[in-house]
Symmetry: C2
Subunit: 238 residues, 2 copies
DNA sequence: CGGGTGTTTGACCGTTGTCAAAGCGAGTGG
DNA sequence: CCACTCGCTTTGACAACGGTCAAACACCCG
């Protein structure tokens, strides 16, 4: 089978204009996955997809569900580095290493498409631009991490929670879901860990925002009542 | 043009065993730079190598000197995302994007080797494994970011400063410099920003460590007097 | 129904941020 | 050569945000 024009034919490493929008890029890969009949794997809530130190078998494309990514220190400290949903690639950080650097745990019944390492070359051959796409996804992940480092390092507790809710809202919208009705898949402790806050502080922040009528909170269900005001609250001096 | 065996003949993207050690990998690129006679550029202390939003021209390999990387928010908040020295690549985060996502400022008289985007394809052709190397560097950067997110999110002020000093010490050693005699190139404010601390807190942490005879501080010069104890202090409960 | 997990709220405390002032060093110009 | 300035650093006093500890509550699931 000869090379198929799955990706735009681009001459240089920088030629990732095809993936200007991260969201669109994700769906390009999904289209590819359909064509290649990738192996699918179901992951139940709480189940571990991979763990740090485990030899890297594959990249995983989240097709449905939600995942929590976290890293650990030798002495047991843990840090949630992010949450992933439909369209996100898991395991990218292990490229060029022997093993995964993070732990991926499903927060809900999920399904991933498996891109075995052994097939990546094959995929790259069949899909021009695949390598550039991976590169772009890696760079995108770095910028996302930096953005969160900025938020966590410069925002107050309440603002961090708002930033998280708005980010989740944007991602929901990009996937075609309601941007104002959010279902948190993680516990307060997991969210707090990600935002570098204690779980009680997350609870209190949500309570304060609800009292200010900016959001409504019912257990894990959060409604954004005033997205404009929420966005404004990030700009005002802490 | 048909597919050429440009890369080491490996069945998968994981075939980056050539760059197992990040340090060795960096020097591989330096050797490559010598062969290709890459353009060199001097950057004076305080000078900006690139800024966020600027169209991406090139990757830069730090040949000598020190750089500070930082990102900014729309409303003026700033976050130092890291410090780079000899052997590090700058601008990786812009791959697949149109423009740089961070600002790179020299902290000292520096020299970088320029890898223009337009030449990346050429380089990749001439240097088997170059793409895999870039991929590995990107993944490495992600793991490094996650590691700092862990440290900053779970360590006390003093511990964060210790973690920074030990990291700097390791990097110095890897470059063949003294691992115990460190010259900080950045201000207390820049270091504090990176560690998500105020500059006064950095000062106090350094003073406390000096008083405990773990280090000695003379302006920007820091000596590690008891690396073992320093390393132990990271494990003990905050 | 009962146990367990996750959440909420309160009270209190401590680490770190904030504000202020003084000290220090390097570079500059008189 | 000295005085001056400017940026950076250090130290102190105080405040506050968020952490810690504790208890009660809600919900889910067996």
């Amino acid at each position: 089978m000869s090379a198929m024009p799955v990706f735009a034919n681009e001459p240089s490493l920088r030629a990732t204009a095809v993936v200007q929008s991260p969201e669109r890029a994700q769906f390009d890969i999904e289209a590819l996955g359909n064509r290649l009949r990738l192996f699918r794997r179901r992951v139940r809530a709480g189940e571990q997809l991979f763990r740090p130190g485990q030899p890297m078998h594959a990249l995983y494309l989240v097709h449905a569900g939600y995942f929590k990514l976290s890293v650990n220190s030798a002495d047991g400290r843990e840090k949630v580095t992010g949450f992933r949903m439909r369209g996100d690639l898991l395991g990218l950080d292990a490229l060029g290493a022997e093993s995964y650097g993070a732990e991926a745990v499903a927060l809900d019944t999920s399904e991933v498409w498996v891109l075995p390492c052994a097939q990546l070359d094959d995929i790259a051959t069949r899909a021009p631009g695949f390598r550039e796409h991976i590169t772009a996804m890696l760079a995108h992940e770095i910028r996302r991490d930096w953005s969160w480092m900025l938020s966590i390092g410069t925002l107050s507790a309440d603002q961090r929670v708002v930033a998280f809710l708005l980010d989740l809202s944007d991602r929901q919208r990009a996937l075609g879901f309601s941007p104002s009705q959010l279902m948190l898949r993680m516990t307060r402790a997991e969210l707090g860990n990600f935002l570098s806050l204690q779980l009680e502080t997350v609870t209190r922040a949500l309570s304060r925002l609800a009292q200010a009528a900016l959001i409504s909170v019912d257990r894990r269900e959060v409604r954004l009542l005033d997205p404009g005001a929420l966005r404004d609250s990030l700009g005002t001096a802490c």
